[in-house]
């Protein structure tokens, strides 16, 4: 059973339709990338999956639970890393982990807490307030919160934005480790390098619609002869970024 099923999803804000008939699935042990220019509908799709906005039509199921009818079960089955830092700056790392362990109904022993902190290499920062952590440390806390309850589905919204190359590589390794453990991951990113490196499949979304879904290599292979993709090529060989530009155009979006 897919860990995420999105079928004919439509999201609108007043008269503006942000998402049009979007359908895709994420399987257990799969990293699925959602790529698109700014304003393409990625965040709206993700927000609908998270249950933060109400779609006008379509169905979303997380681990078989409907996001609308069984919202609490759906939320308990997913882990989310939002784009913005979203924890109380006054709380320490340990307190944040304890808070979310409680919210997900976990009984967190001292040993387990230490193991978690050790896993994200923040043993020495356990008593440090979240607001005093570096960007990379905050991302690590955020990721560990997203996976603390071993969710079937993990949603990562541009997780590597603002990270240095070392932290980014470390995060990729964490994502791959999660995949090995059978988590399904839905990742949004603007980094084509990231998508090409870690994603098993990719959906390119533009103007609220899915343009194409396939593996990174298959996307490159099937689009390498398209004139707009060839025109977008800058390195003498076709990359995922060329395919992306070729399929979504090179106009800068707001």
């Amino acid at each position: 059973m897919p860990v995420l099923q999105v079928e004919k999803l439509n999201v609108a804000y007043g008269n503006f339709q942000a998402v049009r008939n979007v359908s895709f699935e994420v399987q257990p042990g799969e990293i699925f990338g959602l790529l698109g220019p700014n304003g393409a509908g990625k965040t709206s799709t993700l927000s609908a999956v998270e249950g933060l906005i109400k779609p006008i039509s379509g169905t979303i199921k997380v681990a078989g639970y409907s996001v609308r009818e069984e919202s609490m079960y759906a939320r308990a089955s997913m882990g989310v890393q939002l784009q913005a830092t979203s924890f109380q700056a006054e709380l320490t790392v340990s307190e944040i982990i304890r808070l979310y362990a409680g919210v997900y109904g976990l009984n967190l022993s001292k040993d387990r807490l230490e193991a978690i902190l050790s896993d994200i290499k923040l043993q020495d920062a356990a008593g440090k307030r979240y607001g005093q952590l570096s960007g990379g440390q905050q991302q690590r806390v955020s990721l560990v919160i997203a996976t603390i309850h071993e969710p079937k589905l993990v949603l990562l919204d541009e997780p590597t934005t603002g990270l240095d190359p070392q932290s980014r590589r470390q995060l990729w390794e964490r994502m791959e480790a999660m995949r090995e453990k059978g988590h399904g991951i839905l990742l949004t990113t603007h980094s084509m390098e990231e998508a090409e490196s870690v994603c098993d499949r990719i959906a390119i979304i533009d103007h609220g619609q899915v343009v194409t879904i396939d593996t990174p290599q298959a996307l490159i292979d099937s689009n390498r002869d398209r004139p707009e993709v060839v025109r977008a090529s800058r390195k003498g060989r076709i990359t995922l970024e060329d395919v992306f530009i070729g399929l979504t155009g090179n106009t800068v979006r707001s």
């Binding site: 998270e50 249950g51 933060l52 681990a63 639970y65 609490m72 079960y73 939320r75 308990a76 089955s77 997913m78 989310v80 939002l82 913005a84 830092t85 979203s86 924890f87 109380q88 700056a89 006054e90 709380l91 307190e95 944040i96 304890r98 808070l99 979310y100 362990a101 409680g102 919210v103 997900y104 109904g105 976990l106 307030r129 079937k152």
Partner: protein, 249 residues
Amino acid sequence: MPTTLPSLSTVFSSLLRADLTTQWRNRKSSILVVLVPVLILISWKGLIDKIGAAFVISNCITVGLIAIGLMGYSNSIARDRDKGIFQRLRVAPAPSWSIMASRLTVQLLMIVIMSTVLFIVGYKYDHVTFSISGYIFGFAMAVVGGAVYLSLGQVIVGLIKNPETVNATTRLVYFAFIVIGMFAELGVLGKEIGDLVKWSPYGTVKRIVSAGLEPATWNNQTTEALLLTLGYTAVFTTLGIKKFRWDSK
């Protein structure tokens, strides 16, 4: 393996522990909330014999309630909403009402602390005492009165998204309430303004707290003030919930 939901008590106690910790870490602003009514109480020492201890203490409690509801509650909600803290909690299996209930419980505790501090300062500094039933009813009325200002704070964060604007607005409303309220109650601003303030949230809350402290003085007008206080709370709560958005974007 089917997904299991956390128990509501576990969720709520985790939220409450975090909110209490956050409040404790921001204790400087909490101290200021209590300090203003304490200073008024101390500076009004000479008025106690003239206008009565219940009048003075109830005025101070009302000022504290306004500060807790408008400055404490609404500003913390606006700030955390802007940071996305609520959205992060809402994607977890925490019912939305439990997130707010936890915040309100912390403010309830603040009301009890503020009232207790005023009772202690009133006793130590001005030798003001009430009967046991007076203290109990006084606390109860402070909580009922506090609900008006918490719900008014909810209206402000419902209508205004920007935390800086919320901060400026609540300061303005706080200032207007205490200056107009206190002077009108003392009869300085004339009869019309005095009557207006008497039936405003400031006047009704002050009267029910005052009568709560001296239950023997409770009369029909106090009952009307209590009903009006509950009415204000109902209207502000409805408006505040209806207009509130979890996201500031």
